[in-house]
Symmetry: none
Subunit: 125 residues, 4 copies
């Protein structure tokens, strides 16, 4: 469900936050759906529970998740089932721009990059 890259330089808790946001925006985590418990996730990714907890707390503060005493957190109401395509696209626009900037610094052509993206889609379906 989540993929964490500890060596990427991006804080682990931020990686979790962003991934939950995406899964909610896409409807893969629908309104009311339960999230994996802090412990479970922490174990699975060999990470301290506090790291996951910090991510969940931030998402709760944003109003995206809801806490329930003694029960797993759930996706809060008011999201609809799936955000509009343009809203979803906007969530990865910064990364796309940075990737293109990197490709430019590597003197790669749009075709080179398109081919790389294509291969990446096929890699882990």
């Amino acid at each position: 469900m989540f993929i964490l890259h500890p060596g990427s330089g991006i804080p682990l808790y931020r990686q979790v936050v962003e991934q939950v946001r995406r899964l909610v925006a896409s409807g893969q985590l629908a309104e009311g759906a339960a999230l994996p418990s802090v412990r479970e996730l922490a174990l699975e990714h060999a990470v301290n529970p506090m790291t996951i907890s910090k991510a969940y707390s931030q998402l709760e503060a944003e109003g995206l998740l809801q806490r329930h005493r003694g029960k797993p957190m759930t996706v809060a109401g008011g999201q609809g089932s799936q955000a509009s395509p343009s809203r979803r696209v906007r969530q990865i626009e910064p990364q796309a721009l940075q990737l293109v900037a990197a490709a430019r610094q590597l003197d790669l052509s749009p075709a080179d990059l398109a081919a790389l993206i294509d291969r990446s889609w096929r890699k882990k379906p």
Copy 2:
């Protein structure tokens, strides 16, 4: 020459390191070329000189840059003028994979992502 994103979560000095690596791989910084001075870069990006210096030192340790007492650092020898396309592509493979993973989590289609990438190329040429 460099673009820094202070809010991206990635340490500034790492952003510099990666960008220098790309510019060298692409030949835009050729063997023997002098790099912008630490102070110059620091001023331009409103960043502390030590942050730039840390990036340069790491690149020197890697053997990509060379120090010259009292003079600007230069791109070390043994780089050739431009790395092979496959070597260059490999430098952004991780980012491409992460972008695709994000697109998947957003339930975007390959076509959606391709369109986004296309638009990104046109944005700041």
Copy 3:
């Protein structure tokens, strides 16, 4: 464990780097052993934590030390318990050569130097 000479002209962080290398080579810091924490060492030697941190980071880049998020650094694997005598001797060969060169410039005899070394061994056992 470490002895720092602030007035020696050699940067403090380099002194730390070299001493860790020696303690690892001799097996006094064995594979897996935890190093004193940055703050601890900094306090003990009345030195800024960043100075120690810089030394540790360099040793990590060399592969001699390993980072563990939130925990103390340790000596990396692949060192064996003690380097061979010849490898250990090689680590101070440059200093030995410089000392002999200095003795020559002072017109001291090999016996004079040997006596000095002898006395030095006895000084702080």
Copy 4:
């Protein structure tokens, strides 16, 4: 006459200062003897003349050298021809202590170190 180690961490001008002090203490540079010119030394060691000049100035301030308009600097009076053995030995005591400390950290025996010193004497006679 002088040996400079740019990579040793010790500032070049300090290396010059210390070596002049030793050559004077040993009588190899006697009272009134002329020193190599700043330019000459700078060229020979591929170093900026200001670096040598700084060393000479410091030695002048110490009273060890004397400046003469248009002529090479000379060793100042009042040194006698050779300092006493104990005074000369004292000049390298700190280095000897550091070498012994390093040997201890490498878990070398006094015999190991003595052998290394012996070999070092023979290396560049």
